[in-house]
């Protein structure tokens, strides 16, 4: 007999990962780590997409998750480029050192 895992487990996993990602963005100072936390959020989304797909026997979500991956890759390239160009002017990646513009 095929053993099953209920949908809710996947959703709980995905939500937990998402919250970890959000908390990471809020508490970490290193720009690259913050960026990685955002990637965790996106992957949390992918998990639930695939879970819904399998659960409902659909395929849209799988396509969607590929799209998410593509976009995430594009974002990584742009993001790292921005961080590098900042690093050239001011050799730090600590987010708390960037507040020229405020109020």
């Amino acid at each position: 007999m095929e053993s099953t895992v209920p949908l809710s487990h996947y959703l709980v996993l995905s939500t937990t990962l998402f919250v970890i990602g959000v908390l990471g963005v809020l508490v970490r100072r290193n720009a690259i780590v913050v960026f990685m936390c955002i990637e965790i959020m996106l992957n949390a989304v992918n998990i639930s997409l695939i879970a819904f797909d399998r659960y409902m026997n659909l395929h849209t979500g799988q396509v969607f998750s590929f799209m998410v991956m593509c976009v995430a890759a594009a974002e990584v390239s742009v993001g790292l480029a921005i961080i590098i160009s900042i690093f050239r002017n001011k050799p730090t990646v600590n987010l708390d050192e960037f507040n020229i513009m405020k109020w």
Binding site: L26, V34, D96, F98, N99, W103
Partner: protein
């Protein structure tokens, strides 16, 4: 001829554009010609249309000209159109006529100004906006003009921007006007919501059938409209900007802050008379605010020493009279007083400008005196206008003010009537105080200044305006039925069928299963009683003369009597007995009033209302400070606030 209506506002617009863009290049003389010429053309076109309107049968005196559809969205339709009817005609005549005279006067008054062209560009732009306001055929057109005149008045108040006070006064005027505009815009929205249209003709036609007399919708609309009017027309509680607005050049005070713009609120109320007739509660509010303002501003006017500020408070007070008239349903009287007020107050302001011009910028009445021999023309015209505003027979103010008082009494409200009479007494007193301090008595002029009469270009408008102030009363001769030209003229616009409105309201109430209250009292027309009218005239004449006499005793017979009283210096010669009468009069009447009104001015005016304005600014500033803490510049803070916002939305969604 009516199809030329669009030319009336177009001319000043052209003038404003020419002067604004090419003013520096074409030279001062040309600027003056352009500014006055365009307004003169507007006046001529208006005259032509007046002629044609006179030859149109009374019930057909309504002409609408739609230039193009301004906005059409769904079933909503607003045209860029003009409406020529007796009411807008009266306003157009006042605006273009008095406006023209003031333009001419300005050529002389502003002659030495560096940015002469800028002044005339604004002034012409003001004329354009004001004409849109009175000529529009729907509420949005009125609103365009409404905002436009506000903006121009703001620019003109701040004209002498080197003075910080002028800048502040301009901003204050604008902010206070915005409060009124807010209410006005809401009223327009509400009218649109209820009627699906904002066209005057359609709204006023549908109102008696769609609205229930005295019910919430019509009361709310009229109250909102009235709040809008209090802002523009400087009534309690939004009046404090007007005295400060005197920082602007004097012709501006005459045109905008006396003759035309500030009376826009009265025009609006009269224009919406159908709606106000259906809202008795709003009517009482209008009447009491008007009456209250009339007295309140008059008492303050007695304590001022700046010649223009006295006139400013007087304007506030006189507009209060107009609202008092509106509130008791005497719309004709309101418009009548509006017209005569435009004449005599414009003359007074221009006269004060002539005095200031002659004294090289001195505005303090304590440094004037005995100017009548230096400035005879100014003195005579000023005196005529002062007699008119005080209500002396047979000058124009007598007729218009008396009509208001008569209607207030006939409306059955003695309190309102009492307010009016008290106001009349105070008006006569402070206006003659102004005349006596400025033109009579001993000269207190700075010896280095040599007063001189103003040039012809300034005195000629004064003479014409004084003539109008003297004879303007012929527009509305009381007593004899049918001689009241203004009343007959406005009748088609102001016509309101109370009986059928009541029927409709009863019907509407029955439909929702409610009983109509007893409205029969509303139908009773007060009987015209010629003897009451005559005795009232005599009374108000007596009141005015009393006021003048009071001023005479205080400021001519014994100048500085109030001061002496405080110092406790008593004479003992034969004249003393006479003085005892004066002192009695002074101690019982003048002293308490002056003290009381000083108190009112200091507490009510300066602290109460300015305090509220400043308070709002402080609260906003505080909010801004808090925003600084939030907008810290740190990315992670921003992310945190996004998450908090998310939690807030979640909370609202699920609980």
């Amino acid at each position: 001829m009516f199809h030329l209506a669009f030319l009336v506002p177009l001319f000043p617009l052209i003038g404003s554009i020419v002067n604004g863009f090419f003013g520096l290049r074409i030279g001062k003389k040309a600027v003056g010609w352009v500014a006055c010429g365009t307004v003169a053309f507007s006046f001529l076109v208006t005259l032509l249309m007046l002629g044609q309107l006179l030859f149109t049968p009374a019930e057909e005196r309504l002409f609408e000209q739609t230039l193009f559809t301004w906005m059409a969205a769904g079933d909503f339709n607003a045209a860029f159109g003009f409406q020529i009817d007796p009411l807008s005609m009266v306003m157009m005549m006042v605006v273009t006529g008095v406006g023209f005279l003031i333009h001419v006067y300005s050529i002389g008054y502003m002659h030495d100004e560096y940015s002469y062209y800028r002044f005339f560009a604004y002034l012409n732009l003001f004329m354009f906006s004001m004409l849109l306001l009175v000529m529009g055929n729907n509420f949005l057109m009125m609103f365009i003009g409404w905002e436009g005149v506000g903006l121009c008045s703001y620019f003109l108040i701040g004209y002498y921007f080197e003075k910080k006070s002028a800048c502040d006064a301009g901003t204050k005027a604008f902010v206070m006007n915005r409060v009124g505009d807010f209410a006005f815009l809401l009223a327009i929205m509400y009218i649109f919501y209820l009627f699906g249209t904002i066209d005057y003709t359609e709204v006023f036609h549908a109102a008696p059938e769609k609205l229930i007399l005295g019910a919430e919708p019509v009361t709310i609309i009229t109250l909102l409209l009235f709040v809008g009017a209090t802002g523009k027309s400087a009534q309690i509680p939004l009046y404090t900007w007007l005295p400060d607005a005197m920082e602007g050049p004097t012709p501006v005070s005459a045109l905008i802050h006396a003759a035309t713009m500030v009376t826009a609120g009265v025009y609006m109320v009269v224009r919406c008379s159908v709606l106000f007739n259906m809202a008795p509660f709003s009517m009482s509010v209008v009447a009491f605010i008007g009456g209250g303002t009339a007295i309140f501003a008059a008492t303050i006017g007695m304590t001022q020493f700046d010649i223009k500020r006295v006139l400013a408070y007087s304007t506030v007070s006189q507009i209060g009279y107009m609202f008092l008239a509106c509130g008791v349903g005497a719309y004709t009287a309101a418009i009548f007083h509006l017209v005569t007020h435009a004449f005599f107050k414009a003359c007074l302001f221009l006269g004060s400008g002539s005095v200031i011009h002659g004294l090289h910028g001195e505005q303090d009445m304590r440094k004037m005196g005995d100017l009548k021999k230096h400035q005879p023309v100014t003195y005579i015209t000023f005196l005529i206008s002062t007699l008119a505003i005080a209500g002396i027979f047979p000058l124009s103010g007598f007729f218009s003010k008396d009509e208001i008082l008569y209607h207030a009494l006939m409306d059955g409200n003695t309190i309102l009537w009492g307010m009016g009479v008290t106001g009349a007494l105070l008006t006569a007193f402070y206006m003659f105080r102004l005349v006596f301090m400025t033109f009579w008595g001993e000269s207190r002029v700075d010896p280095h200044v040599h007063p001189h009469e103003s040039p012809k270009v300034m005195t000629l408008p004064l003479v014409i305006l004084a003539g109008l102030a003297a004879f303007g009363g012929l527009l509305g001769i009381p007593l004899v039925h049918g001689w009241h030209a203004l009343h007959n003229w406005l009748e088609p616009v102001l016509h309101f069928d109370m009986a059928s409105t009541l029927e409709h309201s009863k019907h509407l109430l029955h439909e929702v299963g409610r009983h109509a209250p007893h409205w029969e009292a509303l139908l009773i027309e007060p009987e015209e009683n010629i003897w009451i009218e005559i005795s009232l005239m005599l009374l108000s004449l007596t009141v005015a003369l009393t006021g003048i006499a009071g001023a005479y005793f205080c400021y001519v017979k014994k100048p500085g009597l109030p001061d002496e009283l405080i110092k406790g210096q008593w004479g003992y010669d034969l004249v003393k007995n006479k003085y005892e009468v004066d002192e009695f009069y002074d101690a019982t009447f003048v002293e308490p009033t002056i003290q009381g009104s000083l108190l009112l001015w200091k507490k009510g005016d300066a602290q109460g209302i300015d305090g509220a304005v400043n308070g709002v600014a402080q609260i906003l500033g505080w909010c801004g400070q808090q925003a600084r803490v939030v907008q810290s510049g740190f990315v992670r803070n921003y992310a945190l606030f996004m998450v908090l916002g998310f939690i807030m939305l979640l909370f609202i969604m699920f609980f």
